[in-house]
Each structure stands twice: as C-alpha cells, then as structure tokens.
Amino acid sequence: MALVLENHRYDADRCIRCGGCKWVDHIYMGHPRWGVKCPSIARYLFDPYAAYGRLQLALGLMDGELEITPSFVDAVFQCQLCGACDVGCKRNLDLEIQDTLMALRQRVVDKGKGPLPGHKKAAGNIESTWNIFGSRKKERFSWMPSGIQPAAKADVLYWAGCYPAYTQSETAQATVKLLKAAGVDFAVLGESEWCCGQMLFTTGQTELALKVAQHNIDAIKASGAKTVLTSCPECLTALKVEYPKLLGKSTSDMPYQVVHLTEFMEPLVKNGAIKLNKPLPMRVTYHDPCHLSRMSEPWVQWEGTRGQYGVLQPPKQWRRGTNGVYQQPRNIMGAIPGLELVEMQRTRENAFCCGAGGGVREGLNDFALWTAQERLTEAKETAGTNTLVLACPHCKANFTDAIKKSGDNMKVYDIAELMVKALSQGKEA
C-alpha cells in the first residue's frame, strides 16, 4: 500500500511552524551552533528545506498552486528522511511528518519527475545483482572468516545487508565473531539474501521495493529462522517497518522477529554470556544511527477515520521515537573496561544524521558528505574526541568517505569491532 499524499492533508495543514521539526528538543538545547537537528535546513537555509516548508509544498501541490519543477524536486529529495522532524513534531503535535514526506516523494515519482538519476542507478544495480552496488551476487558472503561456519538451519538468521557484505565487511566479520564467542548458532541466506530495498522505499520506487520485500520475506520464511539479526539499521527498518507498511500489515504480523546486533548482544553482555573484559583505554563518542534509534519502533497498521478536533477513530498507536534503541549500545560500551564514553551535544532522538539515508548518499552525495562532516565536527568540538563509535555500516561508509575527502583525523568504529577488540583473550575467533 503506497502512501497517498491526500491522506496526509491534515498533517500538512495543521503544521503551525513551531519548528519542532528542526530544533533540538528545548529541554536538551545547547549553543545555537548545534541547535538544529535537521541536516537539510541546516545546510540549505531556505524554508522549503525544513519539514514545515515541505508540508507547505505538499499543500501547494494538492491545491494546484505549485507545479513539480526541478527546484520542487530538489527540496523534496534533499532530505535524509532521518526522522528528526517526525519525532520532534510528535513531542507536541502528533503530526505524521515522515509518512507525509514519503508520500510527497511518491507523488513526485508517480508524476514522472523523480527519483533522481543516482537513485535510478542504484535501483538498476539492485534489479540486476540484488545488491545496491551492482557487485557480484556470488560474493555476498565471501567475507565470512575462515573458521566460522554458519549453520544450515538455526533459530537466528544473520542478515548481513549490502554494506557489511561488500564494503564494510569488518562489521560483518566482527558480528559473526561475536555470535561465535557467545555460542549462538546462526544461519545465513547466502545468495537468497537480496538488498533490503530501504533506498527504494525512501525514493518512491515502490514496484521494485515490493518485489524485493516479497522475495526477502519468502526467503526468511523458508529458512525457518525465528529471529533475524542485522548489523545494519537501514535493513532493520526495511524488514521491521517498511515491509509491513507496504503490505498493509503490522510488524507483529510478520513471520519473523527482527533485532539489531546491539539489542541482541546487550542481554548477553549483561548476563555474562559474552565477556568484554579486555581493557580499551579510549575516549569515544557514540553516534545514534537514525534507523536504530528514533525510527526503529515497530509499525502498527492503522486504518480509520479522523473526526472533530482531528480525533482518530480507532485511536492510533504512535511511533514517537520513545522506544528506540538508545541505551543498549551505551550499556555495551559501559561494560568495556577503560572505555570512556562522552556524549555529543545532539544525542539520542535529537542526534544529527550521518547524512547517508533517504537516498541522499546515492542521489545527492555532496550533501551526504557535508552532513557527515558536520557530525564529525560536532564530535570533536562538543565531545572532545577524535573517535566515533556507531552501530551502522551505512553511517560508517558515509563518515569514512567524508574523512577521506576532508583529510580529517577522525577514527570511526562500528560497535561490533569494538566489542571484538574487548573480548576476553582466546574468545576472538
């Protein structure tokens, strides 16, 4: 069920320009330099580049006041769909910003004015090789370390995802080493694992997204696994939120449960099943990946009507970002001796995106790199460290590219890599 813009007229019309979509929550507000959590308005400054502006564009389009011009398309796609606006709005008003922005993109694509060339190229790669890079299908699991043999069948299915499979293999390798160290049997899908399609969902390429989703759901079902474990929050969101959303279902209706590595590992660290005893004398800061933190709550399908005062019948279960994965990675790092975690100014649901999501890395790479550089600067200036830890290979790839471009001295680690470094001697595979 593709999103329909007209279903979001109320959301667009009831915006009051309070800027909750762009400002950091005022309770957590710091210096003006770090006051805005929306990368798009932070860079482009003109109001169409904030959610409150895009809602005006949506109204203008629905009312026939605006046409889909190149600048309209630019305003709509220069956005990571990072969800900062959605969560910010739901602090006060409960307007469905994220879905409205996605519906707006869908409308642009349906009218033949989108997506952008980079999005089409990435879609072409997916369609021809089932990964976003156009790399060889056979090599999807060639990163598997020698000495680690996935089970033919297991309750836990490790979903590698395109980035860990092809470019951020250190994350995938670290993940399976951790599973081995914890004594967890896991299976993989091999060539049956296709790109999760998150980029397709966010760029309105619904037909291919549906094909990918259906294949992956069937493949997971056929594997017999109960739990799908991902290293990549983008994959997590696709499997957990976008697939059921597109199919008109709820997350709880899916034939599998999806968890991120940090959710899976935190209880094991806590109960001692995995021991992170080796000291790591490092001062680090943690970047909350958008799709692991504020955007990772389950999707609950809602159908109903809006009555007087905008009251919904039946009431809706809101995704406000409250129950995202915020604390688990922090608890894991807290268990590593010698590791000092210092927070940045914008953190948790107010975190500034890495810049990669929403098709920006594929379609508007310059903006992706600018955003990453902003975040790296924030890490240095507000946390006073040159070591950034994250839990997302997509973020890591983008930060790594930004560092290459700027010559910055920042180091970036996936949390899985740190955990492997901290494993008790002899435990590392």
Binding site: R17, I27, F46, T69, R91, L312, K316
Partner: protein
Amino acid sequence: MSLPKETIRALESIVGPQYVSEDPVVCQVYARGGYGKDIVLGRGNLKPACVVLPGSTEEVQSIVKLANRYKTPFVPVGTFWFNSCGPYRENVISIDLKRMNKIEIDDRNMYAVCEPYVIFSQLQHEAMKRGLYMMVPGGGAQVSVVNNVTGAGYSPLNYRIGGPQRRILGVEWVMPDGEILKLGSASMLKEYFWGEGPGPDLRGILRGPQGWQGGLGIFTKAAVKLYPFQPERLVPTGISPDTTLELPTKRMRRYNITYPDQPSLVKAMREVSKAEIGAAITKVPVMWRYRARSTSKEHFWELWKGAKEDLQKNTETILLVVIIGYTSEKQVEYEERVLTDIVTETGGTLRRTKQTDESWIKNADSAGMWWSAGGYISVKINVDSLDHALKSGRDAAALKKKYLEGAVDDYGDPGWFQISSFGHEGYNEFLVEFDATSDPKVSHRIDNFYVDAVKQDVKEGCYSGMQMSYGPVGITGPAYGDHHILLKEIKEMFDPGYLSNPPRPFEFDEKIERECPWVKKDW
C-alpha cells in the same frame, strides 16, 4: 509577482546569489503559517516576490536601503512563529534572518547580546551555564529572543524578574530607511550593557504598546538583562515526548496548591507577592491538567468529556508556585515555610508535586496548545492589574458561550492568569481551542469573538493588552488615549513610504474589511 531583474541582481551582490531566491517553490513557503493562521491575523497573506538571507547587520542595512531606493516593501522574518512574518502586500522582499544567530554573554555585567535568530532555549542554556537565567515566554522556547522582548515577553517567571520592557538594554536597529541607530550605551560606548544611555533611548517607541512586528525596521542586535540564578545544574532527562528537567531540590522546588475556589487562590497570590517570596506564580488552566495526564489526543478527549460533570461539582483550582534559592539553600527553606503558612491561612492544600520542569524554565510548550483540537488562539491577552485580569477573564468566559459552537468547551474556566513584578502587574490570557478543519465557519466565529472581546475590554475598562498591537487599532486607539494617532505619526516619521512590513501596525483593521465579510466592521 516578481521584482525587476535589476533588484534581484542588486540583492545578489549584497548577500551572494546563493542567499537570494525568487523561485516560486521558495516563495510559497514564506506566505503563511504560525500563530494566528486560522483567523483574521493570518488571512489574505501573500507570497513574497523573493526571499533573501542576510548574514550581517551591514547586509540587512544594504537590503533595506535597496528596498527604499526601489520603493519595494520588505518583511523581516524571524522564527516565523507569528504570522506577521507573512507579507500582506504584493512584490515584497522577505528578509529571512536565519543566518544571524550569534550570541555573546557578558557574565560579569549579566547581559546577553543576541542576534535575531537566537531563540530562548539557547539563551537560557548559555545563561544557566554561567549561573544566570532569563524567562522563557508564553510564545515558546522556539521564538526569537530579540523579536519577543521587543514585542511580547510574558512568562510566569516575570513574577520576579519583571516585564519584558525592562529587560531590553542596548539595541542595534536598522531603521525603515536603512540607517542604523544604536540605542543606549551601544550608541556611544559600543557596549550593550545599558539601555538608557549615554546616547538615545527610544525603547518606548521600539516596543510601542506591544511591539511593531517588523513595522518599524529590523532589530539586528538586542542586549537583554540576565539575572542571578542558583548554582546547581538542572539535569535534562527522558526521551521525547517525555523530556524534562530534574530540579535540584535543595535550590529549586515546585508546588501545586489546590484551592476550593478562585477567590481563595487569588488571595494566596496576593499574599505570596506581599511576602516577596517565590520565582514564579501562575494559575494553571484546568485543561492543562487534563492535557498533562493524557497519552494522546484521543485519550485527552476521553478524559475531557468526563471532566464536565466533575468540574461542575468541584470548582477546585490549581496554583503553581516555583521557589528558587538564589542566595542559599536556607532561602528555599525559609520561603517554603512562608509559603506553607500562606497556604494554611488561605485554605489551600499542598499537593504532591513532581520536582521536574517541562515548561517555563527552559522550555515552554506553546505548540502543544494546538494539540488537542488542531486550532488555537488567545482571544484575550490582558496586561494590567490582577483585578483587571480576573474581570476580563470572567467576561471572556461569558462571551465565549455566544461563540462556543465548534470551539472547545472549557466549562467556564477563565484561562491562564498570573502576576508579574511581585504582584504589581496582572496578566490574563484567554485560550480558545477549536477545529478549523471540519467547519470553516468555526474560525469565522472566532474572528467575531476576537473583535467582540476587544470591544468588551473597552466597555469594561480593561486594558486590552496585546490586542493593542495585533488587534483592531480603530477600536483600541480612540479608547486608549488615541494611540492609533500616535502610532500613525511614528510610523510616518520613521517610515513615510510604508515599506517596513506594510500595513503594520494597521493590518488587522484592513484585514477585517477585506478578508472577513462575516465580521461587521462598525468602527
């Protein structure tokens, strides 16, 4: 709508081409929105011909001079919380001040110099880091400090630190003709610490009755007073939407006190202010209590529908008092003892209160006012004595019955009232929540209510507060010292071409005539 190419090129040469846009997609977004969007205040707004983003006072000055040269109206755009940032004339230049967000704090002399895009939560953060504080206004933590102190500036924290007009110190002002005027010490000493001199002090004109909202040029810098706070950190906690500041209870405490009726609550307000204790005092509107308990809009309505019967049986009212130990922990203990005595003497009951702050210290959830019904407006904002505030609130509650259909029934609650300056000033804000989407005539009724509420104040001798500025000047002017004539004279002296956000400050009357056939304009 478009400006001559020559004008656009000239603007580009001032700020750089990347900071000028005449694209219809950009201009569309600068037309409307913000406070007042559903009623007369927001009706008829137009798209600007172009939007420009200056980065300095010099650039603002050059833009305004250019506008004068080409006789082109201009509208300053702050955080766009208020719909007066939307043009009401064709071929306007919107001057978006977003790039001007510098803040400098002089700890020793306790003031902050803010550019127009510094907002209150940012100022409060920087002030509190230095053991100082300011208020956060009813407009919300997201509004521009400069724009708010020069236009409104009301908050329960004004109880101790006084009204907004007293907070303005040195000011840098790009006049409607593009000349720069510096006020107070900023004029002669290049420092912003004092408003009264040496040098000109035009702060009375600068604010007028309640501010000009861009009708008298652009304030590019304003120094505001900061006040000594207490030394302990208020710890931010929670995940959205449940974020809050934990109060350091040895130095700060909140008290919810219930009273069996309004007269006893008012008596307590007076006694507290006579004793000169406390940092903030406000009567909490009944609806806010229900809102705070609700987990969703649907939940709120379920609770609120059931509230009617309870409220008819029980007229209990809530007084919120905040105590701050500015000087010591002993101050908190002393003030708490005095407060406890007053509560006992006035028949109140101290209720268990969470020692956290969601609103007023660093945040103010103004946007949340739209949450329950989707539409909201303060039909009255009185700034006078407490007696006037109470009277005007009661009158408005009675008048509201006439316009109630389609608006949220508040069951006769007179709104939000408080005292400022240790009780020397009273404040009433009469809140109306409504649904503008299911029946457009609801907002027509609110337009009529808005105008009638001003007429009611005039008739009853209550000062009509902020409606002096964004209300029918044709009604309030003759009633209050012919101030409309004074406004006109000042406007024409400073801005003879009516280029600065025209037709400020007379747009309300014009909009009623042009955009609201459902309101009888009989003045």
